[in-house]
Symmetry: C2
Subunit: 248 residues, 2 copies
């Protein structure tokens, strides 16, 4: 009997607050573990889930994309409902479709978008506290936006990469890097060909220093040129960050 | 030595998910307990906090109002920061001011506004799941809004009151009772002179039956006239409900 192996792609949203990131770890629960557990409970076999990339502990996703192979004949439109039923409420599958056998959530991705949210007001918004960094001091948003725009283009992002990275090639292209204010919430949107370990959080930590007047906006170009993690600012907290979208 | 007793009013927001409601209970942690504990840790004396009203287990507040008496001379503008530092992150004091000695958060209130949120889409919004009731089936919102409008005015709300109430007078006046759609989220706003035990949640349970076509919109008037809890629909889950504003 020939069994057809299907490659299923899923768009997944999650509140990362209570997770040790996306990828399976020796200790602590992860999004990947939960997805694999839910699929296994549905199809009765262990399965390997491939994500478009890791997200750090506490980082969220509006549109993470994963794929996995299965011999199950469950119709495509039934998967999301069946898996959401088996998943904890802080992980929600939004869409499932069948893709070509050679599709791979990470290797096939063309662009990714992240969003970082800062609540810039006297007190935090209690309903958004898990998803926003709260900063009560005033920030120079126009300087932050000017600095952000200098990151657009193809650069060596070594300065904006954790030294714990295993990747050797630090060249990435950013297509969008800008701040948008909605009342007292500041959103940073960044779209790129790919991102290095902690890259968005280090960009944010550096742009906040610009907003604080500790660095000039134009100094961001020097940070890029330095190709040295020490030239950039601190790594901003993970909870303000959301993997927004992955494009193929 | 004469000690001046001050009456302080606070506007408080909270995520009620992990609480057994506002008011102190024999078992389970409550918002009132947390507020009293924080104030006591600041002033070094036990204190009694008076709320504008209870909220049920799991119900949230954007603008709950409380008052308490204290001999502390801490300046008014310092209280919110000092208390927020001592409170868990799911309770945030937004404003503190000093009021006349006879001000009482419940007895002095003139109007209250509640909001109920329904996420009406195939899957829940993972980031709003604590604050929205998720219903995937389609609802007739115009019928729900027509029914809601029939509740405006002064009525005996006995049918929309838990039989576990201790209040004898069930006459209340609603000034606003309407649905607003924002994309796939349905918000019900209700403003009234006061609310009976479970009143908004029973209204919602009944209006959802209207949206499901189980009742006609006009039948809401019969439910009011019946003055019988059994005439109304079920009590909707608490987590979609937020105490929005209290007016004085």
């Amino acid at each position: 009997m020939v069994r057809l192996v299907r490659n299923l792609r899923m768009t997944v949203s999650y509140d990362g607050t209570d997770y040790h990131g996306f990828q399976t770890q020796p200790t602590g629960k992860t999004i990947q573990d939960e997805l694999q557990r839910a699929i296994e409970s549905l199809v009765g076999k262990p399965v390997q889930v491939y994500g478009s990339g890791r997200t750090d502990a506490g980082v969220h996703a509006r549109g993470q994309v994963v794929n996995f192979y299965t011999e199950s004949s469950i119709p495509t439109e039934r998967w999301a409902i069946a898996l959401n039923y088996r998943l904890p409420t802080d992980i929600v599958i939004l869409h499932v479709d069948e893709v070509d056998a050679d599709f791979h959530a990470r290797r096939s991705s063309k662009r990714k978008t992240y969003r970082y949210a800062i609540k810039n007001s006297k007190f935090p918004d209690v309903f958004e506290r898990r998803y926003q960094l709260h900063l009560s001091r005033s920030l120079d948003l126009s300087a932050m936006d000017e600095a952000a725009s200098l990151l657009i283009g193809t650069h060596q992002f070594t300065s904006f990469c954790s030294t714990r990275t295993s990747k050797e090639n630090h060249e990435r292209t950013l297509y969008r890097s800008e701040w948008i204010r909605e009342e007292d919430v500041l959103y940073y949107f960044v779209e790129g060909s790919g991102f290095l370990y902690n890259m968005v959080r280090i960009i944010i930590g550096t742009l906040i220093e610009v907003g604080d007047g500790k660095r000039s906006a134009s100094s961001i170009s020097d940070v890029l040129l330095a190709q040295n993690r020490k030239a950039a600012g601190p790594t901003a907290p993970g909870h303000g960050l959301t993997l927004w979208q992955v494009q193929y």
